[in-house]
């Protein structure tokens, strides 16, 4: 059972206690504890359950690499799953619960999975997908769904109450890692005057050195760290951030820093997390190294822990997982744990060293202190169900015949160390295999490169493979001096002299014992969180998953939330062995950001709620809101869909608005329509290229409807062009199209016809535009008073004029999207609301009725006018829509002309626009298809057309629709069957019959708009 030791714990304040709860139990710890150390101090060694087999799991590491001790933190709307207990600093009132178990942490029914692991072998998802098929649906999937998933997702109904923010920074240097290598790099860079951000993911500076008894410049590492930090704090050009992880390194020196500002102090008035978006000329990765587990049977049991982690717990927090610890190792470093445990008064019955010979200084020290060292030995098995009661020893070079049982309650294991090369690799830095240390380290000749083609990440210290403390410091100094040299600077002082006991070479051990049989290999865990064992990787290799990336996905090795920090090297070594290949030939999987998961809140920052995407508002928007408009999104705008009266349905409101407009006077806020000024000597020539029809022949004072296609021939936008003077055009675009079309114009003007003298300006928001529509439209404008002659003779259909209307500066366009007499009046945006209200007041006697976008849609469909996005979908050309009249035959060129000459575009079998009228007067379902005889190669019903717009027309009192139909214009009067999603009593598809008709349902001759 884990305990708090009577003495020790350099990071905790024993004079004070703080309360917290775990699974509802109230426990206490000390300031400085992590949740993991505090749980250990309370005898709570089991902290979680594994993903697949629900095995009981204790903490195995002391840092970011922890795969097991993941908990739910917080309650209610602050609940957050999958938080690492090893990185969670204890605070008063912390609430944690364990996850992935049912019914309880200590007794989980899912544990039965582990008893029949042959049911869940490597690739079990893929295998069960295949056959027998019903088995997946009825047996495997429900079972896996019920048992899968780590943690509980936050309640989607709750908004996160915390605050998050993002910062930008531009610096010469980001240093990731606040161990002695990072501190030394910061000191040298800071003294040379570079602008530096130094980030440490944990809450303390100094990394492992203070725990490992390193001496620097003749003083204990902790003292050197203190003075180094003091010196750095005095430098204005150096920014120190604790609890900030460099989460990712991206192209051209872009670095993401993830700062956990208030996780440890939730009561402070600070943002919880901060996302730093940094541009750094250089990145120093001083991220240290991670210890690897050893693969022996039972290595996943609670109280089996990494040797370095156990040393951390004893030295930093004064806690130990047990009182009698067996050390198992293939290197000298683990002896430090043996010595630390002994110094803390804990028993170490033996050190099991897989190497045939062990006589380095640390080994000699251990022997001198009376510790029993067994060489050439291995652990054959770990006894114990929810902890350790004994280990069985065997020869490393054998099959596992048990030679001796050793009673113990904890095991400290060390399989060697791997440099943390993640940040080097994120942006493409390559690795080389270091056979001496059995790890991948950065290949200095193949760094990630920046915009100048120079390597911009440099590794320092253990991250560069310099694992021994003395080498770490020298390496860090060497690395930072390369960067200083680029700045033409040199460090004046020598690097501090670092002393630590020397280490004899390690021996790679991938399976323990070396000749272990299949039964043992099936109990050797590689990936603790995802339950991937040595036997799984070997099975994957046998089944042909020879690429490391394939084996990873097939077995799920390294795919858990820890992303294989412990399992990666061990797993690919096993794969290499199984394939009889060298490890460097097998290679490693790709390291991708973030280094550990970061919160969604930090990614969103302040961009949530109303400022997630700011809305565009017309100058009349306030009036719409005050008068109960029901809005719909259109581009970045919200446009009134309709203006329902008290108790009125949206449908009734739309019908009322249409009848009022056609019968008297309707008003539409059309301010959102795109308005682009195209000006210059070549403006007409330019518009001739942009539109399918001729614009250069348009006379000043006139308007013309035009179609715009992309170079691929497809219709992209439409609208009315007004010629303001010889050299100036006002181009109207669709509401959603203004920015896109303006960009399209600029693309052609800047990149293709750059010698044409044309200037464009998007003036959409400079003008408020109101459509005054209906038989009384002229009457209301005349009542307001105008210096313009608004008569049909003076201002006919498709003309425009500028003057004053009702005291407002206005442009009046005689254009109509409804088929009624219509004036679209543009006034300066600031006067939009006043003009709107003047129209309403003057129009009261004519029944002036504001109408929304749905009434607009219905009225344009009654007239057979197309709508971009309804009749078009990026595959429709103007010829499909019967718009040949708007395609110039005279022009030699326009954008899309060449494309429209392609055989498929001129194919007579293209579906073409027609009107559709149901025989029973009902409304066709949107998007339904005209059915044809027979089925296609996939057994699906053949089709001969589809509905593009469909509405109830209150004007006609029946359903109307537009659609694209095979040979449609040549089949007027034919009746087609359209599908629905409903079924008949017999279970057959219910269809609707509709007749092909002219798409102009209302006022075919167009006389109403022309009065």
């Amino acid at each position: 059972m884990s305990i708090r030791l009577a003495t020790g714990g350099r990071l905790i304040d024993r004079s004070r206690s703080i309360g917290f709860s775990f699974n509802g139990k109230t426990l206490t710890g000390h300031p400085g504890d992590t949740l993991a150390s505090a749980l250990m101090a309370n005898g709570q060694m089991i902290m979680g359950r594994s993903f697949k087999y629900h095995r009981p799991r204790g903490v195995v590491a002391s840092g970011a690499e922890e795969p097991n001790a993941l908990v739910n933190l917080g309650t209610g709307n602050r609940h957050e799953p999958n938080q690492r207990a090893t990185l969670t600093e204890l605070f008063e009132g912390l609430t944690a619960t364990s996850q992935n178990h049912w019914p309880s942490l200590n007794w989980d029914i899912g544990e039965v999975n582990a008893l029949i692991p042959q049911l869940l072998p490597a690739g079990f998802y893929y295998k069960t997908f295949i056959h027998p098929r019903p088995f997946w649906k009825h047996v495997f999937e429900p079972f896996i769904r019920q048992s899968a998933g780590l943690g509980r997702a936050p309640d989607p109904e709750h908004a996160d109450p915390d605050r998050y923010e993002q910062l930008y920074a531009h610096v010469d240097l980001v240093i990731a890692g606040g161990g002695i290598a990072g501190l030394q790099a910061a000191l040298e860079a800071g003294r040379a005057g570079l602008r530096v951000i130094l980030c440490e993911q944990g809450a303390h500076w100094g990394g492992r050195a203070p725990v490992d008894g390193v001496g620097i410049d003749g003083q204990p590492a902790a003292d050197w760290v203190t003075s180094a930090v003091q010196e750095l704090e005095k430098m204005d050009n150096v920014h120190l951030r604790l609890r900030m992880m460099v989460a990712g390194v991206y192209d051209h020196g872009y670095v993401i820093g993830y700062e956990r500002v208030a996780d440890h102090a939730p009561e402070t008035d600070a943002p919880r997390h901060r996302l730093w978006r940094i541009r750094a000329a250089r990145v120093v990765s001083a991220t240290g190294a991670l210890e690897r587990p050893l693969s022996f049977a039972g290595n996943d049991k609670p109280c089996v822990m990494l040797a370095s982690a156990m040393r951390d717990y004893v030295v930093n927090w004064g806690v130990a997982p047990g009182a009698r610890t067996v050390i198992v190792t293939n290197n000298d470093d683990a002896y430090r744990t043996a010595l630390a445990l002994q110094a803390a008064g804990l028993a170490v019955p033996c050190i099991v060293d897989a190497r045939a010979k062990a006589d380095g200084p640390l080994v000699q020290e251990a022997r001198a202190r009376g510790l029993r060292v067994l060489t050439g030995m291995a652990i054959a098995n770990v006894k114990g169900l929810r902890g350790v009661v004994a280990v069985q020893l065997c020869a490393q070079d054998g099959t596992g015949a048990v030679l001796e049982d050793v009673v113990c309650d904890a095991v400290a294991m060390s399989g060697g160390w791997s440099p943390v090369v993640h940040l080097w690799s994120h942006c493409g830095g390559k690795l080389i295999w270091d056979s001496k240390g059995a790890f991948f380290r950065p290949d200095p000749d193949r760094p990630p490169t920046d915009q100048h083609g120079q390597g911009f990440v440099i590794c320092a210290g253990a991250a560069d493979g310099a694992l021994l403390a003395a080498d770490t410091m020298a390496n860090a100094s060497r690395s930072i001096r390369k960067i200083l040299h680029e700045h033409g600077k040199d460090a004046s002082d020598a690097a501090p002299l670092t002393s630590a006991m020397a280490e004899a070479p390690m021996m790679p051990v991938w399976v323990m014992p070396a000749q272990a049989g299949v039964k043992k290999r099936a109990k050797m865990w590689l990936d603790f969180q995802n339950d991937v064992k040595v036997s799984d990787v070997q099975l994957a290799a046998r089944e042909g998953f020879e690429s490391v990336e394939h084996a990873k996905r097939y077995t799920t090795l390294g795919m858990a939330t820890d992303q294989g920090k412990l399992s990666n090297i061990n797993g690919l070594a096993i794969l290499a062995q199984a394939l009889d290949e060298d490890i460097p030939r097998v290679g490693t999987t790709t390291f991708r950001p973030p280094y550990t998961p970061i919160s969604m809140g930090a990614i969103a920052g302040e961009g949530r709620g109303a400022i997630f995407q700011p809305l565009r508002r017309t100058s009349i928007q306030d009036w719409h809101e005050a008068h109960g408009a029901h809005f719909e999104p259109v581009g970045y705008w919200r446009r009134p869909y309709c203006f329902p009266k008290q108790g009125e349905s949206h449908r009734d409101a739309v019908n009322r608005e249409i009848l009022a407009t056609r019968g008297g006077l309707g008003l539409l806020d059309a301010s959102t329509l795109g308005k682009i000024i195209v000006k210059g000597p070549d403006a007409a020539r330019f518009l001739d290229m942009l539109y399918t029809n001729l614009m250069s022949s348009l006379a000043p004072g006139k308007c013309r409807y035009g179609l715009m296609c992309n170079e691929n021939g497809f219709l992209m936008d439409d609208g009315v062009v007004a010629r303001l003077d010889d050299e100036t055009f006002l181009v109207h675009t669709t509401t959603g199209g203004a920015d896109r079309i303006h960009a399209h114009m600029e693309d052609w003007l800047q990149c293709e016809w750059w010698d044409w003298k044309v200037y464009t300006a998007n003036v959409t928001e400079q003008w408020a535009q109101i459509a005054v529509v209906g038989p009384k439209a002229r009457a209301v404008l005349q009542k307001l008073g105008s210096d313009l002659d608004l008569s049909n003779a003076a201002l006919p259909f498709m003309a425009w004029a500028e003057g004053r209307i009702g005291g407002f500066d206005a442009r009046a366009f005689r254009i109509s999207f409804s088929g009624e007499l219509s004036f679209e009046i543009a006034v300066p945006a600031a006067q939009g609301r006043a003009f709107w209200e003047a129209l309403l007041a003057a129009g009261a006697e004519f029944g002036a009725t504001p109408y929304g976008t749905e009434a607009l849609h219905v009225m344009r469909a009654e007239k057979g006018f197309i709508m971009i996005g309804d009749e078009t979908d990026g595959t429709v050309i103007p010829q499909d829509l019967g718009l040949d009249w708007a395609i110039s035959k005279k022009k030699t060129d326009y954008l899309g002309k060449r494309a429209q000459e392609r055989p498929h575009m001129t194919d007579p079998l293209r579906w073409k626009l027609v009107g559709l009228e149901t025989l029973d007067g009902s409304v066709l379902p949107d998007g339904c298809y005209a059915l044809a005889d027979g089925v296609n190669a996939n057994g699906q019903r053949n089709t001969q057309g589809r509905v593009t717009s469909t509405y109830f027309s209150p004007t006609l009192g029946r359903g109307i629709a537009m659609g694209l139909v095979l040979n449609g214009p040549g089949r007027m009067g034919d009746v087609l069957d359209f599908n629905t999603t409903k079924k008949t009593a017999k279970g057959e598809m219910r269809t609707i019959k509709a007749r092909i008709v002219n798409p102009v349902f209302y006022d075919l001759s167009g006389e109403k708009q022309n009065v």
């Binding site: 192209d251 920046d450 800047q750 750059w754 060129d893 494309a899």
Partner: protein
């Protein structure tokens, strides 16, 4: 998250303020061109690994289109230049060959 210096406004622009526009120096083929020429202009892109000329717009900045010469493999930027040209200017070619002696235009 690439950075390019906009040759118009001089800003060292981050990718978040830029819009990518695909390959540069395409020759437009209009009415009267052969099917092969038109297909090549509209659709066929070599998608090179190595030196690449491409179009970018400083969309959230000065609004100008510019061209860039970049290595798609190492992300090295050899230079940016105004879009009003049918071929890479000599100083850009020189900057590329200085870094990639084996490379040639064509």
């Amino acid at each position: 998250m690439l950075t390019f210096q906009c040759p118009y406004c001089g800003v060292q622009a981050c990718e978040t303020e830029l819009a990518a526009g695909g390959e540069a120096h395409l020759k437009r083929f209009g009415p009267g061109s052969s099917d092969d020429d038109f297909e090549g202009y509209l659709f066929l892109r070599p998608n090179v690994k190595g030196v690449h000329f491409e179009r970018w717009r400083h969309a959230m900045g000065c609004g100008k289109w510019f061209l860039a010469a970049r290595c798609t493999a190492t992300l090295e930027v050899f230079g940016t230049y105004p879009a009003q040209t049918t071929e890479p200017p000599a100083d850009i070619i020189a900057a590329i060959t200085a870094r990639r002696p084996d490379w040639s235009l064509t």
